[in-house]
Amino acid sequence: MQLDDAGGALDSWARFCGLSDELFGGAGDLSAGPRLAPVVADLCARGLAGLLRDHFLRSLEGIFISNAVKKFWQQFHPYCSSSAGERIKSCVQENWPEEILGRALEDICLEKSYQEKCVLALVHCLQSYEDRTPCRKSKALDCSSSLMPRYQLMVSSVLLTTLPLSFPEILNVYFKKKLEELNILMAGSDGNNSFDDHDLSERNSTSALHSEMDIDGQEPEISESINLVKNIGKVVCDLRYLGFTSMTEDAYSSAIIWLLKSKVHELAGDDYRIPVLGCVKKWIQAVPLKFLHALLTYLGDSVDNESVSSGLKSPLASRPSSFPGIGVPSEALVRWHMRLEYFAYETLQDLRIGKLFEIIVDYPESSPAIEDLKQCLEYTGQHSKLVDSFISSLRYRLLTAGASTNDILHQYVSTIKALRTIDPTGVFLEAVGEPIRDYLRGRKDTIKCIVTMLTDGSGGNTNGAGNAGDNLLEELNRDAENQENVDYDDHTNIDEKQAWINAESWEPDPVEADPLKGSRNRRKIDILGLIVSIIGSKDQLVNEYRVMLAEKLLNKSDFDIDSDIRTLELLKIHFGESSMQKCEIMLNDLIDSKRTNSNIKTSLSKTSQTVGTVQEETELSHEILDATIMSSNFWPPIQTEELTVPASVDQLLSDYAKRFHQIKTPRKLLWKKNLGTVKLELQFEDKSMQFTVAPVHAAIIMQFQEKPSWTSKTLATAIGVPVDSLSRRISFWTSKGVLTESVGPDADDHTFTIVDSTSDFNKNSTVNQLCERFQMNEEEGESSIASVEEQLRKEMTVYQKFIIGMLTNFGSMTLDRIHNTLKMFCIAEPSYDKSLQQLQGFLSGLVSDEKLEMRDGSYLLRK
């Protein structure tokens, strides 16, 4: 009807523009609103509703930008311009973001709410027009109802497009600071209450819940914290109102997580002796969850969620979790709880995994940390992370040339023990242990160290690093106790078939079984088995043990072998009786020797009593002589060396041997004169000293009874040893200050003189006690048993002729070919049974002796 009335339309438009400007600039005065209605109705009737709306919004936008947005960002300007580092610093130091953010938000929200009112006014006008024209209702309804969302969208898009880059950061800093404040407050109130009330967490949380009623003088901290939460809530509200919902959530959740992280780090630290997981969990409920609860309640979310959650529950929330004080938790809170706990687990796990090496180093003390880690891993399932990081730290810190084999073995044992608690199935242990095993296989003294650990428990570690937890002997003991009803073969070498049968016959632990003992027995990871698997075969280990045992037994001055018998029994359980047979014979020899010894001695003393006269001449009583009589076939090869013992002792020995022959006809004794121990006392005019030495030392010093001064050559002849070994041995006495050495006329013929007078003695020896006892150190006492390598070299020497013959015929040969040829042709006694590695070792020995040459991987004779 009025469609072509262009003039009227222009007129109405102009009036509309004027009125809307008046409205915008009204500064709180909305009186222009009602007057707008007829104009709007007129324009709508002309079909200009869309145009009208667009114009309205655009002018609002312009005003919003110029009035509010610029001012708003200007507040943060100093922080946006400076560099990131300074910005954070200034934010942390100064107090401003908290206040300024609050104030700026208030301002801009005021502006926005005013503009909203304007929009509402227009919406009213539009609605009233629509009410009057029902025919176009559907289309116009769109018009009016979409106005408000469009405005909201406009506001947030304006803000987001003008957003300075650092704004999220500022929000983050803000929340961090606020949360820290809150944390301190909570901690303070916790600390105060803990003195008088055990249910402090409950009380705190109830008070936090019923925030409004609780503002009384008795708990100022609580009310303060409530105010704080309120303040934060207001800021969050404002930010949401401006359309920063997701950014805000990001900011406060990252702040919470940051706080959680720092809390975990603070609690966990570098102390592995106390469990921290419980504390962290408690803290999560005490601080961040309470904060979130208060915040969500303030924002009104939890109420919404509660009504929703009854019908539509998240699977995550299915776990009935009750929080102290926070009656029925809303779903959002449950989600938060899960999230925070997961994050705490993950943080702690990462922290512990990073320090796993140290944790395992002090394993038995650090078991709480291991327990924590175990729980974390159960929750997060990131075992592979542990394996990777631990292996790399092992490579970097343990498996290096600088680490002693003992340390590596101790660490390996601790690792086994620690990982056994984390993962009883042993899958990850397998992965972690592999590099250690590989490395240890490359070390020469591995076997020796293992055997030492097995036998004396302390692992030969003199500096005290080997503590009781690493005691392999103890492990043996435990094995023996645990295995009473288990088949021995069951775990020493399970072949695949057996493993399959075991797997098939697996049954879950009975319900009533003691979970500690039962499961451990069944899923026990056998430490010894793992250690032995480093070496590859138990035979090597047993052989090394035999050598060490022989060494130990031969250096004994009594027959006390109880501990060795115990060890042997344990080893027998583990390695089987047959492989320990020779060791058993060795120990049996000692027992027999003890018996024979006392037997011979009593019979000897009887005869000496009857004869009577011999005693005076020899001066030495038979009482002083003890003998270890061994079945030499079963002992490892023994290094024999000629030694002429003093005649008096020689007399004793032959008497003894004669007696033995009488008692045990037709058996005979063959003395190994260089072996054994001698306890003697050097008597000077004014003092005496006791020593425990090897026979050769005794023979040397006894020569000085007759003549105070000897040249090394004459002395060597007298005691029947080569000069070079004599000068090695005699240094024991010079180092003790009993003898002095001086270079004689001949350069390599030194003269040794007994230090006779006391004054001389004092000069030479600082120790001056009436009776001193010296024990030979291990370096001084020489090994009487050929070591395993020496044995091997001896055995290989047989083949040297073959090898040299072969090389003469063939020119040059590779290692493989030599090995195979030997295997093929050396079948007669002694048949060739060495491994490729052993052959290689022998050949390289020949190369260093300049008998062979090695070129391009093949060996040839040296010309």
Binding site: L554, K556, S557, E584, I585, N588, D592, E617, E619, L620, I624, L625, D626, A627, T628, M630, S631, S632, N633, F634, W635, A647, S648, V649, L652, L653, Y656, A657, F660, K664, P666, R667, K668, L669, L670, W671, K672, L675, T677, V678, K679, L680, E681, L682, Q683, F684, Q690, P695, A698, I701, M702, F704, Q705, E706, K707, P708, S709, T714, I754, D756
Partner: protein, 122 residues
Amino acid sequence: MWFSNISLVCPKFCLAQPFYACSSNITNDITRRVADTKMKVKILQWHAVASWTWDAQDETCGICRMAFDGCCPDCKFPGDDCPLIWGSCNHAFHLHCILKWVNSQTSTPLCPMCRREWQFKG
């Protein structure tokens, strides 16, 4: 050298008596010096090591081919537990080995080595 000198001076003593006991008798010179030193060694305990052997003139038992100083295949411990026995023909075997052999023969047992009649050496 020194030793041989002394032997020339007083061979009787040196052969019959322990070393230091004879030393004071050798020469004046030495006696004086011994008096000077006054160091005496008193042996409190001499723990020696020896091995035993059956002294059988042969290495291994002709029946079980194990060392005489070892033990027969049925035994665990050598020595008293597994003794050696000599026949009248002077051949030695592990007691357990020859007993087994003797008991297994239906007719008069023969020595496995020389085929003479086996009799235990009294």
